[in-house]
């Protein structure tokens, strides 16, 4: 009897304390099944945060590899030795082995959303499709960024990146696929996204940051999707696919926001925002142009064209200023960056100026020199304040391409393009060499951890 009383009391105490399930009290977990609209909104912003995390690093590293920039960093000499002289260390996550994991984290964040969006009862079918279209487009952007860093044109048929990565963390690593397959995968993913956006109704079930203004409904967002599609197809074209891809690029551009009308704004496009708000990041490329560690490569100043009356290319004067000369590790520059003049300066994802040049590149490759020349001259005049080149349309395809690539350098300076442009167009040897022993790298190595995870 007494035992019973005691046991009952004890059992009651223990039973009362018996729910041992605790959820993580310190951090959110990934989006779960049947997500609310707020959960979808957090996941969407999370995708943008993840995709943004590599943007500035890429523009700087690709700028150094593509001889647009130097970084003289007292505490890290790898910006001046590893990135210019090599060897690129696949085990060093910040340099040779970089521009991989951040985008795959973005791809995982996207998959976490795509895997559950079909169960979201708080969203209509159209809203689910719109969300899919958004996620797939951003996922394609991240795959494309990894490809830009890891495409070695001479070995284009070799292994490149894994694409079948929507797997449990305990599964064996996804296989590396051939480069051309990876590009085809990205192209198809953008088409899938486009179809979902087409079925996505009038509005997204979430808000987007101001960097997406003008592209913040499923319909207008499709123009961004098609712009990325055009970029992928031009890249594929230059990497060996040729005319079919260039044709597809022109088709895609037709659905994009490319614009050379009188009212056109070259800076119209899609951007990653930065700010000093709590939880947000500032643009790391914003520095005091006179004292910051980042410098402009002297060849950018040496090769700049003069305007017809006086002064040089407006694009140059808008992005580059003089600063006290500095020599570090045998490298010298007296030019500083004003490309990102504020802590909140956005970084470009894609914008009209690039689309016009993509259109010129596709037309030139397809044997349409006149429209290509028109677009190139349009950029020279409109963006650089330079004189149009008379008779450009009558030059050879190769000559037009050379002029086009030069305009891409100044139009897209410090936006992460030049290094890949010279690699994919077979003009890597046009990059200047500053010191004996410096190298022109044709790709970043696949990270060591990626190789090791697949065994010896």
């Amino acid at each position: 009897m007494k035992q019973t009383t005691l046991l009952v009391t004890v059992a009651a105490l223990v039973a009362g304390a018996c729910d041992f399930n605790i959820t993580d009290p310190n951090n959110p977990t990934k989006i779960g099944p049947n997500p609310s609209r707020a959960a979808v909104q957090s996941a969407v912003a999370g995708i943008l945060l993840a995709a943004r995390s590599d943007a500035a690093d890429w523009n700087l590293d690709a700028g150094i590899l593509g001889r647009e920039a130097y970084r003289f960093d007292g505490s890290d000499p790898r910006f001046t030795d590893e990135l210019l002289a090599g060897p690129l260390d696949p085990g060093g996550g910040a340099f040779g082995g970089d521009h991989w994991s951040e985008h795959y984290a973005a791809i995982l964040t996207t998959n976490d959303l795509l895997n559950v969006i079909g169960t979201a009862t708080a969203l209509t079918a159209a809203e689910q499709n719109a969300t899919r279209g958004f996620g797939e487009t951003l996922q394609a952007y991240s795959f494309l960024m990894v490809l830009m860093a890891h495409t070695d044109k001479p070995a284009h048929n070799g292994d490149s990146i894994p694409v079948d990565v929507n797997q449990p963390v305990t599964a064996p690593p996804a296989p590396l696929v051939r480069n051309d397959s990876a590009y085809a995968f990205v192209s198809a993913l953008l088409d899938t996204a486009n179809n979902h956006l087409t079925a996505g109704g009038a509005a997204f079930p979430f808000s987007l940051p101001s960097g997406f203004s003008g592209f913040d409904t499923p319909t207008s967002f499709r123009r961004f999707n098609r712009a990325l599609k055009a970029r992928v197809e031009v890249y594929r074209g230059s990497l060996g696919c040729g005319n079919p891809c260039y044709t597809a690029a022109l088709t895609a551009l037709g659905g994009s926001f490319v614009d050379t009308a009188g009212t056109a704004t070259l800076n119209n496009g899609v951007f990653f925002n930065y700010s000093t708000n709590p939880g947000d990041a500032v643009n790391p490329l914003f520095q005091n142009p006179q004292t910051g560690e980042n410098y402009v490569h002297p060849s950018i100043g040496a090769n700049v064209e003069s305007k017809p009356v006086s002064g040089v290319d407006d694009r140059y004067t808008a992005k580059v200023v003089s600063r006290p000369s500095n020599t570090t590790d045998g490298l010298t520059s007296a030019l500083g960056w004003i490309r990102y003049p504020a802590a909140s300066s956005p970084i470009v994802i894609i914008r009209n100026e690039e689309l016009i040049l993509l259109r010129a590149e596709a037309n030139n490759a397809l044997g349409n020199p006149l429209p290509a020349a028109n677009d190139i001259n349009y950029i020279r005049v409109k963006s650089g304040g330079l004189a149009a080149i008379a008779g450009l349309g009558g030059q050879t395809q190769a000559q037009i391409l050379t002029e086009l690539l030069k305009q891409r350098v100044y139009s897209l300076l410090y936006e992460g393009h030049r290094w890949f442009d010279v690699r994919r167009t077979g003009t890597l040897n046009t990059l200047p060499i500053d010191r004996a022993g410096d190298q022109r790298f044709s790709t970043l190595p696949v990270p060591l951890a990626e190789r090791q995870a697949r065994g010896p």
Partner: protein, 983 residues
Amino acid sequence: MRKNLGLWLLTLCLTTASAGVAGAQQRSISGRVGNAVSDEPVAGATVAVAGSAISAVTDARGQFTLSAPAGPVNLTVHAIGFKRRTVPVTADQSTVAVRLDQDIFNLEAVVVTGQATAVEQKNLPQAVSVVTAADLQRAPTPTIESALQGKIAGALIQSNSGAPGGGAQINLRGVSTINGGVDPVIVVDGLVISNAAIASNMNAITAAAAGGNASNQDNPVNRIADLNPADIERVEVLKGASAAAIYGGAASNGVVIISTRRGTAGAPRFHLTQRFGQFRVSNFMRSRVFTDSADAATFTSDSLAGVYCNLAGNRCPNYDNIGQLWNEHQLSTETDASITGGTDQTRYFISGLMKRDGGIAPHTGYDKQAIRANLDQVLGARWSLAINTQVIHSLSARGISNNDNAGTSPYLVFPLTPSFVDLRPVNGIYPTNPFERSNPLQTYAFLENNEDVWRALGAGTLRWEAINEARQNLRFVVTGGLDYFNQQNDIYSPPELQFEPQDGLPGTVVLGKTSNLNLNLLVNAVHTYIPASGGIQATTAAGLQYVDRDLNFTNVLGRNLPPGQRNVDQATSININQTLQPQKDLGIFAQEEVLAMDQRLLLTFGIRADRSSRNGDPSKYYMYPKAAVSYRFTDLGGNSGDEVKLRAALGQTGNQPLFGNKFTPNGTGTIGGIFGSLAGGVAGDPGIKPERQTEIEGGFDAAVLRGRLTANVTVFNKTITDLLLVQTLAPSTGRAQRVFNGGKLRNRGVEVGLGYALAQTPEVSWIVRSTFFANRSKVLDLPVPAFQVGGFGTSLGAFEIRKGHSVTQIVGRPIDASGNPSVVGDANPDFQISFSSDLSYRRWNVGMLWDWKKGGDVINLTEFLFDAFGNSVDNAAGNQRQAAFGNPLNPQTKVYVQDGSYLKLRELAVSYRLPQAATSQLFGSKVTGASITLSGRNLIRITNFRGMDPEVSNFGNQAVARNIDVAPFPPSRSFFLSVDLDF
């Protein structure tokens, strides 16, 4: 309704009990119990009539009176620290004198074998170390861990730094985990208490770790430091799984069971200890002395050398800036007071402590106040209640030390600061240090780093003898209690400090608030059965243990303060960090102990089942079995008391996953003002389970020469499987790492304990003791590539886990052709030996304890820093070390991985017990005893280690990577003069 029933039951019990006692009273026996050697009275001895429940307790004069049945009886007399004695009393005898032999080596002390069971040491089948109050209080100690140093075979107890207020690691039987928790379970009076180490976030100043949040390089104190050593009656240490299995899923690092002092019946007895003393630096590193400007020009520019070295002949001045910093020796005081007394129904023990340990640097020190009340109340023949309560307040000021990336920690400033610059203040103004970002003298004068802790421990234990018969006994023991502490960290670095403006945000204030609540419920049922045939005794115990923990850490960091303002609100840049760690654990256990063959054979087996909210599956029970056997060969060579016991034990314990191992947290941020949640870098394992330790130990305990010589020898072999490991993932998974269970490591070793009573006469007692411990570990299986678990990279020496190698190996350069670093050391000691001697001659007592650690390498990065900047006190040798370290063809990390052997005189005490006449004359007739003691701790320190101290750990308590000396707070020695009074 239930209340009424309970009351009724209680009344019934009381009635029955008093009736039973009344019926047995026939005659009165009184007597005195004294020490067999000195005939001093033995207070608190229990005198019981064998075969009955009648008992009495002796008073301060050793006297007792009890009522016994008519006819001849046997009285069993026992007291803590003495051997049990049975005395026959004839039917017509009414007084009796009993003299008890001292149980020098605690052979008859009962030692825990379960949550509520214990057996006498002589039957114990495992090697459980017991440290009693007398051993703990030989010399005063700031915190309990240092009082245990050198007293437990199998334990390596090392102070993480010399800063006042504790911070030490207790490691039992070598490495038990790689990534898991390292703390033993600490049990105080049945209560599992927190030994959390909460970082202060000094990292906000030092930038020792990236990210700006609190870091394990902040020199934190683990909270066992709060306990008052003077309150402790005994400490039992379960070192491995074979003994600790009954504590189950969290006990892989062993269990430290602390019992506080309890009241003894009698008139109130007071004890007062007053101490005065001092702490002084025992070792610190100095810098290079420059002869003249030419010598100085090898350190700095020619022009600066000329400016500073302007004495005659261009000689350089030499300012002892470093010695100046560690030159504090304030008065340290300690007052311990206790009262004990009561009746055979109610006993109490009340104690109070006030102490202040002065630091060796300005504005450092440790203050502690504690008050305890322990109460035992008999609620009838079958019910009793014990209440333990304690409130503790401590305030430690620990200065700034350890690794640093901002030029603030003294030993990262001194290597760059030549001795020819004078850092002393002029008219209260500290000069700017032109060679580094701070002036340590200024930093210590104005930087505040205070840790203020309030802690309350409260526990109640209710015992109920449900059945108390000649052949069987059933009792229930229920303990419930709480352990709550609130730790406040205040760091204030005023904007005027030299280093403050460098981040553009002058002035830093850190406010840390951490609270932790442990709620405990422990229920035990113990049944003892002695069959009529006799010969055996079977004890069955079963029960459950529930522990609920709730840790809430909040840290507010403010930068950019207006002058004179230290409210975080006034800072223009504010960072807030909060971490919550709720946890619930439930264990269910059962065990059987059979004592047979005239108490010569003991067989034990038991099992514990544990579930924990830290496990992936919080409802799954993990089983931890144990089994043990011991056999005594008694009366060897016909000598009573001489015996050898052979023993063997086997058991399993677990080590819980770390908090959060089961979770896969997402990162967060905002973009364009929108909150986002993105995939994080580490994947948790939703199926994560505890590490499992399987230990087998065996050995023998011998007592020979009529019990004057004892020897204990134990060998153990423990293997740990399901280690918590971290796998590097293919980054295309979107993550960097994954936590999982796997791998296997082994640790085997030998422990020896020796004790010898060299003399045992009324005039002289001389007891010497020694312990020996050696162990070796090996990684048996590792399903991931070799990886580093600590250090500052391969070139500076790093701890590397590699299959087939010692767990504690240190690797470094040169790197071989296949890319593997070379093994340059091992943190594991070759062996440890301790030696203690307690000699009393008439009124004099001399006690000492030596602690010798042989081997065990330490990465000495403080010397590396002095060498690297050309500022070592032995500059020529330093240049040679740098040349060897940086040799491009054959770089030698080994020059900074140094032998950490030491021999320390941990304790030395000389005391004199005043004659009664002198006592009365000095203190009045009410004072019954007085003694004066001179004592010291860490007085002698012999080591070839060239850093600050071979015990230090830059990263605090660590499973593997602890022996790293980076700019620690220097060690100190202490001296005390104490007066003890009894009245």
